[in-house]
Amino acid sequence: MKLKSLLLGLGLVAGISAAQAEDPFKVGFVYVGPVGDHGWSYEHNRGREELEKHFEGKVTTSYVENVAEGADAERVITQLAKSGNDLIFTTSFGYMNPTLKVAKRFPKTTFEHATGYKRSKNLGTYALRTYEGRYVSGIAAGMMTKTNKVGYIGSFPIPEVFRDINSAYMAAKTVNPNVEFKIVWVNSWYDPGKETDAANALMDQGVDVLLQHTDSPAPLIAAEKRGMRAVGQASDMSHFAPEAHIFSVRDDWAPYYIKTTEAVINGTYEPADFWGGFKDDMLSIASINENLPADVKAKIKVTYDDIRSGKISPFTGPITNNEGKVVVEAGHTLTDTELAQVNWYVEGITDAIPH
């Protein structure tokens, strides 16, 4: 009798552990902002939701929002790994060193860090080719400006932003040789109040088209109020500014999250440095405004297609910086590693790189 129940018990235990083996695959996310920021973290969270929907029932996800990029990050990433997540996405640059440290301690877990450059056996990196969207924005801005002054609201003076300013400027120059860029830094990724102030400060100085490297729709709303134009960033922002909105460059992380999860589940995952753009459907041009002139609309679409097909590649030399030095030799196209280190403005931008 006792033996029997013992055996039964053992069977039960075996059953449980078998059931555990079929447990859903767990994916964890770490966000730097609140998911309600309607910007960077919001878009990553949408990607997470898509991921869960795609693998209905087979994949469960969890996330931690508002994780400061300091000492807390390492703890949160560790706790995610400890609580059994098989794959962990850390979605802000400041998580680079903490992710690397935790990845070393949890060799069986896979880690993916957005926008960084350090990798290891179980840590890959991924980023967006935001400069592709910025190139199309530059084309539209160059064609739409009447004052020949385009405003660029910068977040922080880092390579990603310098690179995108260059991309937009070079594009604008191809359609409007007289175009001039005014750059204002707000020291924040999203601060609607400050972005509004920056937008107004630029428009006060004759700017009539705004590009932004910050995440809130505030600059679009400011442009709408004053009858100017602007390009939306990160998500579709058309409803914030029905008249002013030119189009939005939309980020979409879902394809990458789905692809990576699939690879880890199938055991085909290899850590790499992945850059997604138009070609991968991780960037798209959303809601081109009906009120644009036909030639502008057409040019936007052609430019998008040309970048997607590889016909246009913004950082192909020769490119000279605004100190007169050749930074990209003729015939050379910047590699992804080089794209991550752009620390110059192209010829024609009158500002200097801030230090």
Partner: protein
């Protein structure tokens, strides 16, 4: 800088200074009655989110403003009950209110992230707006900015020229004496704190209905703290709060204007300017008033308990 740009910049300074002015007007009355409420950020966020929700669901910005004022008062009521009735520490309770309000506002607002409303439209006042230079700076704003002018005048009048103002001052300076002459100290403080809450709510509504007509978590980004500093900066004088709010507004857009003009200084060092300027001005003002000891209400931050009078 030409006159046109200058007038644009001053116009923007008033716009940027208005939320600070609104919230500081409430806080100054609150502090004059002897209560220090560090929960402004929390009340302001609640005002912003409830104002937005009310306007979004009803389609009326007016209702939004009213909703924001009511929630601001309700939030301040929690604070008032804790510090006035239960004698809880004002500093700690205020900070707890900020933590609570930040969380609650994010929770209530999660459904409307990414939505927008038709905010207040500019109301250009005829004739006055045609005055050269000043007309544009002062009279081409929206309704809430004009309301802030009126409120500033009203608060200033009530605080300095009326019996109510005297009572608030008496309660803030010496609650025991005030109590002795029959003033209901706690009742006065309740009213003052709730006025502060109403103004914080209104200021939040200005953020979510006028400045950037949308709701985003933490959208007030520290303005409550600046307002606190403003009250001190103005040495608890209403007229000076108005000046201070616009000066701070000006300083905080100046670094953006200068960047646009091509000043090539580190944006981080430029962003420091408003804070450095505030300290410098403060030092000059307070050094000037050196003999006028103790500008702050004398019982500021100290609990008053009528039960101990008996």
């Amino acid at each position: 800088m030409d006159a046109e740009l200058l007038s644009q910049v001053l116009f923007a300074a008033i716009k940027t200074g208005t939320p600070l002015l609104l919230i500081a007007l409430g806080e100054v009355i609150c502090e004059k009655s002897g209560v220090l409420n560090l929960g402004q950020e929390g009340m302001m966020l609640m005002g912003a989110v409830v104002g937005f929700l009310a306007a979004y669901s009803s389609g009326s910005v007016g209702l939004g403003v009213i909703g924001a004022i009511i929630i601001g008062m309700f939030m301040s009521l929690i604070f008032a009950f804790l510090v006035l009735h239960l004698g809880a520490n004002q500093v700690a309770t205020g900070l707890a209110l900020t933590i609570f309000g930040t969380g609650l506002s994010a929770f209530v607002g999660s459904g409307v992230v990414g939505q927008t409303v038709q905010g207040f439209q500019p109301l250009i006042i005829p004739v006055l707006s045609d005055i050269p230079f000043i007309g544009h700076i002062l009279f081409t704003h929206d309704l809430l900015v004009y309301l802030s002018f009126v409120l500033a005048a009203l608060v200033s009048y009530v605080a300095t020229k009326t019996r109510i103002g005297l009572i608030i001052k008496a309660v803030g300076e010496n609650p025991h004496a005030a109590n002795a002459i029959g003033i209901k100290v706690l009742r006065v403080r309740y009213c003052a704190v709730m006025f502060g809450g109403a103004m914080a709510g209104l200021s939040g509504a200005y953020m979510s209905l006028v400045y950037t007509p949308m709701w985003i978590e933490n959208m007030t980004s520290g303005r409550g703290w600046i307002a606190l500093a403003l009250v001190v900066f103005a040495s608890w004088r209403v007229g000076r709060i108005m000046l201070g709010a616009y000066l701070f507004g000006l300083a905080s857009i100046m670094h953006l204007v200068l960047q646009g003009m091509g000043w090539n200084i580190s944006p981080n060092l430029l962003a420091m300017l408003p804070y450095v300027a505030t300290v410098v001005v403060m030092v000059i003002i307070s050094a000037d008033h050196f003999k006028e000891k103790l500008l702050a209400p004398r019982s500021l931050g100290k609990p008053f308990d009528p039960r101990q009078m008996a």
